[in-house]
Amino acid sequence: METAISMTDVHKHFGRTHALDGLDLSVRTGEVHGFLGPNGAGKSTTIRVLLGLLRADSGKATLLGGDPWRDATSLHRRLAYVSGDVTLWPALSGGEIIDLLGRLRGGLNVKRRQELIERFELDPRKKARTYSKGNRQKVGLIAALASDVELLLLDEPTSGLDPLMEAVFQECVNEERRAGRTVLLSSHILAEVESLCDRVSIIRKGRVVETGTLAELRHLTRTSITAELTAEPGDLAALPGVHDLRTEGAHVTFEVDTSRIDGALKALTAVGVRSLTSRPPTLEELFLRHYEDELKPGPAEDGASTS
């Protein structure tokens, strides 16, 4: 089977909200596919349609060769799902919930469960009502990662995780890739998707507006560079891919197309660098630049938000 997920012209309304507006999505078997979009773009709705929790108004969706609505229960034995806001039964312990969800799916790998509990530093004896947001996410992640499934549907799974645990999560996803599993990872943080995914689909207002490998999407992203040089630089603006250059003596700030970053850095080191900070482009900037017309300025969302 070549494609694990394929969706064509899928629509979904909630009253007057057009949550999915002709969505096309294709995820190949064995790849880690990033599903990137700002809050409210329709990521969770897409995943809930794939889980058969929501019924699409129109369009065609295929999941692991089956129909996500009609064949829901048999397909679910072959996949695991983690939501962006894992909710747990307050009176059950984390360990009980991991086991229960694993068994309901048809069994879980006990050795891997133990290993994951240690790596994520979860205390499985605590009652779920005493877990913090991050710990609840860990319970969901461990339950999903410890089961032997073909496909992982992860909907902003790292919200509330600290950077250390985020790193553990990334290791785990890389292991899944090596084991040949397919992963659909939704996120609104570009950096997360960049470091993990083979291919990326960008969703906006219920439509996928770009799909491709990261290299193919490089042209979309720019990195901001601020540098303190040892001398006044020459004409940096002439370098390919450099934009918005500002020079004040030996202090420069500019943006550079991520695919051209190497040339820009060489030019800087040729002059001599005292200090340098680079900031990866945020998703908001990416969207502002490429789809400016419709994105309203709003408070930037961070990794802790849920939707």
Binding site: H76, T87, G95, P124, S307
Partner: protein, 530 residues
Amino acid sequence: MNFAGTWSLVRLALRRDRILLPVWLIAFALILQSAVATFTKLYDTAQERAELAASVASNPTFEALYGPLYGDSTGAFLSWRYGTTIGVFAALMSLLIAVRHTRAEEETGRLELVRAGVVGRLAPLTSSLITVYLANLVLFALTAAITAGGGLDGAGSIAFAFQITVNGVVFGTLAGLTAQITESARFASGLAGLALGGCYLLRAVGDTGGPAWLSWLSPIGWALRLRPFEENAWWVLGLFAALTAVLLTGAYSLQRRRDFGAGLVAPRPGPATARPSLRTPLALAWRLQRGLLLGWVIGFVLLGAVFGGAANGVEDIFDSNPQLMEVLERLDQGSIIDIYMTMIMGITALIVSVYSIQATLRLRAEETGLLAEPVLATGVGRVKWAAGHLAFAVIGPAVLLLTAGAAMGLVYGAAVGDVGGQLTSSLRSSAVQLPAVWVLTGLAVALFGLAPRLAALAWAALVVFVLLGQLGPILQLDQWAMDLSPFTHVPAPSASTFDAAPLLWLLALAAALTTAGLTGLRRRDIASAG
């Protein structure tokens, strides 16, 4: 500032309850309004009232349910028939509101946002108690206005308004205290509810031949001793003031002593791995629902035993009264004990319906709490998931009714030396109620599956059925209106003309409603956060 922000929180609570509270209060007002109208119109001569008093005195069922009747004035009847009933429901309303704005908010984490703002440590408790007291104040004013407006004595109306609202204050405050004990809101309202049920039963035992001082242990017994319209014993209010003060002190000292989000009792750590049996939706539902069912079973053992004990005096009265015996035979519903048991079980069935709706709507609570989603994303289908909880909504009522029936039959049978015979007839009178209760289960399932946002309307249906049963005969409603309630169709189990057909119809209706609901569930969207 421990109390900073109290008033903003009161406003927030009133806003959140802007539908719930008026619904409760309007329901109370409607019942009172029609009760005042009926009692003043239908029983307006001294002779009619004397006859009513005599028939009340002859039937201990009434004493057990409502308490003693303290006179034969219109006001005395009103206070006897509705004072305890509405008082208990006002107490229920109050304890639910108190928990809703304290522990429930803390448990969901919403209060954390509020507390992080300019809000003092004691403000959430204080504001929810103020909300409860305001609700009872409005009920007090409504009651006094409706009764006095119906032409009844002014001072008596005030005393009656106190009778109805004092237990709202007491049990609302008690819930403020139980909310401090553990992290769970269900525990807080469960414990306060159990106390309410216990106090009601204590009074029932005290008022029906048990030691009379038992009634004095129960605030529900005290409220009756106000004797509105007869004596207006204002000093009884002192007891309530003292008890409320004690409960308040308790609630505040517990609140000061504990951390935010925590209870007094630190939660014990659970097992690191699940038992082998925790592997099906039914096993999960059992974990989630067993506490509720156990609490109800305990309550129903007590209830059955109390009413079984009260049955003791029934037969004596009739043995000494041949005229009444004649009336009975004409009624053709079996012996006086059979009639008594049927009546008690009719009321019990209404209470069991509360459980059946509660157990069914747990499905909706799981869904909107996003706890259905993780289960439905595994290999579990929707119907199988629902069936886990529905097992409780279907089997639970049977367990409860038969428990109450068995306790009643055993206690009464032991007293009259005929355990086998009495047990059979009390179990029979409890079993006939079951199909009607299942109709409510079915209705709740149908709403949940077909119109999930309206699932709470199952409660409204129960309220309508209760009102039809309670007020229908007094208001002399038409038969078609009475027929709306499934409980109207329950046949008398001991009548010589006993006909099981209505039971089969009720069963068929319950099954059809359940099927419709499950079909709807299979076709609809599962609620997401939005």
